[in-house]
Every structure is written in structure tokens, then in C-alpha cells.
Amino acid sequence: MTAQRSTSRDLALIAIFAGVMAALGLVPAIYLPLTPVPITAQSFGVMLTGAILGGRRAAASMTLFLGLVAIGLPLLAGGRGTIGVFAGPSVGFLLGWIVVAWLIGVLTARAGAPYRLPAGIGINLLGGVIVLYAFGIVGMLLRTQMTVPAAVLANAPYIPGDIVKAVLAAVIAKGVHTAYPGLLRVRRPARARA
């Protein structure tokens, strides 16, 4: 999708994180006290992929994952799949995943190593909640021809869960970047080592 060529390690990371998204679809929903809406792990996976792979690879990984769904693998949470989901009311969220993973990736890479939790949470909230819901609601408006307030109301119950997921994704990303350094460039006097 971009003119820039990827190395084979990039290809491997892109494919593996498409697999991570699929695996997160198998994780049973978590119920939190006070919220009736179950939290599924996949929108968490979008933020996590962005926060770990960086913009270009994360966007490619989400594109690959959605491609696998389109060609018939039942990988969306609850075993959903087929091209049908791209004709459904959630299409905005699905396509938004690509943009959100890219955005979170670019911003996280710009913030650089070491991964800082407050910045990470802020980036995840911006991408995984504000931008994602903008895409989701526009998609729903186009597919169901509701008014904006009605579409917002239909999605409102999911927002608290996604805020929790944004925080959780940042906590996990910090743990991963600590245990597996080298994915983010250290922001020090530029280009100390080539």
C-alpha cells in the first residue's frame, strides 16, 4: 500500500500481528463491574499493534487482517468473517482500524523510546477512541441513514470499555517495549549509531 519496500522482518511482523489480532478474537470477553457491555479484545489489539509496530507496519498488519476476514476466515470476535461485514453497519470501525493503527503507530514512534505511559495513554485515547469512533459513526451513518445523535447513542455504551482498553494497551505496550527493546528509536542526539 506504500511505495516504500518492506524488509522480510517487516513482512514477518505484519503477518504475526495479523495472527495476534486473530488470537485476540478467541479471548473470551471480559466483564467489568458497572458496565453491561462486554469488552472484546480486538479493538485493544488495534491500539497495541500501533503502539508496538509503528505506523506503516501496523497499518499493513490491520489491512492484512481485514483481508483475511474478507477472504473467508472467521477471525472477528465471536467467529465472524466474510466480506459481508464490510457491507454491514460496522464497516466504519473495521476500516478505521487501519487508520487508527497507523496514527497510533506514527505518534508512538515520534514519542520514541523509552515508552512513556502518560503519552502512550493519550495517543491511544486519541486514536482508539476519538478517531476510531469518528470513523465508526460515519460508517454507520452511511449504512443505516440514521441521524448523528442516534448513531452516537447506538455507540455510546461501548465508549467506557474502549477507554479502559486504551489505558490497558498503553500498560501492555510499556511492558513489551521494556522486555523487547529496539522497536522504538531512542530520542537522543540524532543518529549516534547508524
Partner: protein, 200 residues
């Protein structure tokens, strides 16, 4: 083999039609539903789609399975449109939506995953001039398909390790080792791709 993919085996005309042709027809149908947004057109679209399901010998159960995840939202949309602009409008909006969702699902249900991969690669071939690399797209799709069971195994290993340590309630104690293992797996996969000459 029903372990991977949503393909429903069969030998109807739809099953035997090439996946690329089905995708093209779906595209035309998708454009058509934008214009067929009055109730007679929507009814025709629904009848055609239901007829195609019968022709492909795909049962009611499979048909409803395509819509079931949407029911709460569809109900909300139905109530909204009935309230704002009447039941006819609600029927038109929902009918067009359901017809297209079912039609798209039918393409996947009647095409094996391998045929879909080939169709995607073939469709990307004319885009080569725009910088697309069809063979690489095919490679990525097959790699991605392989990574699904690979990650399922990692999930099981990590959750067993977590149980053994008695930390089964912590999301962090599950996700961090899982992702770190995934990254190591990607390193190994990257090296094996280099060894097979997929590098530049």
C-alpha cells in the same frame, strides 16, 4: 475440512463459478443497491439473494448466522427509522443493508479460501503499474493464514504458563509475554523468509 474458513462445500453453479467473477458481480450488486433504495427494488434484491442461497443449497441456519451478530443494531436502526420516517423507510434501509450483507457473505461461503487468495492476486495484477506487487500480496495472505494457528498455539502456551504461576487473573501477565513471544516468533519467521530468498 471445517477447521479453517467459512467455506461451505458444495457443487452448485455458484460454488463452481470463479471467485473473481463472483466478486465482480458483488461489486455491481453493491452499486445497484445504492440506486434500488425504494421498497420495490429492495424487495427484488432480497428475493434475488434468498434465491441465490437456495440455489447454492446453503441452509437457513447458515443464512441467519450471517445476520445474527447484527441483530441488536438492526433493531435499533429499525426503531429509529420507524419512529422518524415510518415503517416503509425502515424496511427500505434495513432490507438494502441485509441484502448486501447476505450477498457479500454468499461469495465467501461458496468460495474456498485458496480460490479467494488467487482471485485477490489476479485482481491486483492490473495494479502493478501503480506500485502493487501481486505476488507479495499473495505471499502476505498465505503468511497471515499460517500465523493464525501459530498464534493460537502461543496463546495456549502462555495461558498454561500463567496458570502454572497462579496469575490467571492478570491481563498484563498474559498479554506482555504473549506479545514478546510473538515478536520473537516474527524474528524467526523473518530469518526463514530471508533463507528462502524473500528479501530485498
Amino acid at each position: 475440512m471445517r477447521s479453517l474458513g467459512l467455506y461451505v462445500p458444495g457443487d452448485s453453479f455458484l460454488h463452481r463459478a470463479p471467485a473473481g467473477a463472483k466478486l465482480l458481480v458483488l461489486l455491481v450488486f453493491g452499486v445497484a443497491t445504492v440506486f434500488l433504495n425504494q421498497w420495490p427494488g429492495v424487495t427484488v434484491a432480497l428475493v434475488v439473494v434468498l434465491g441465490l442461497y437456495a440455489w447454492a443449497r446453503i441452509g437457513w441456519r447458515m443464512l441467519f448466522a450471517q445476520i445474527r451478530p447484527l441483530w441488536a443494531l438492526l433493531l435499533f436502526v429499525a426503531v429509529f427509522h420507524t419512529w422518524v420516517s415510518g415503517p416503509v423507510r425502515a424496511y427500505e434501509v434495513l432490507g438494502a443493508l441485509i441484502a448486501l450483507v447476505l450477498a457479500a457473505a454468499l461469495v465467501t461461503l461458496t468460495s474456498p479460501v485458496s480460490a479467494m487468495v488467487d482471485a485477490v492476486v489476479a485482481a491486483a495484477r492490473p495494479l502493478r503499474r501503480l506500485g502493487a506487487d501481486p505476488e507479495r500480496i499473495g505471499l502476505m495472505l498465505t503468511l497471515g493464514i499460517r500465523c493464525v494457528p501459530l498464534m493460537a498455539v502461543l496463546v495456549r502456551e502462555v495461558s498454561e504458563a500463567q496458570w502454572a504461576r497462579g496469575a490467571q487473573r492478570s491481563v498484563r501477565a498474559f498479554a506482555v509475554p504473549l506479545i514478546v513471544r510473538a515478536l520473537r516468533q516474527a524474528d524467526a519467521l523473518g530469518e526463514s523468509l530471508v533463507a528462502r530468498g524473500v528479501d530485498d
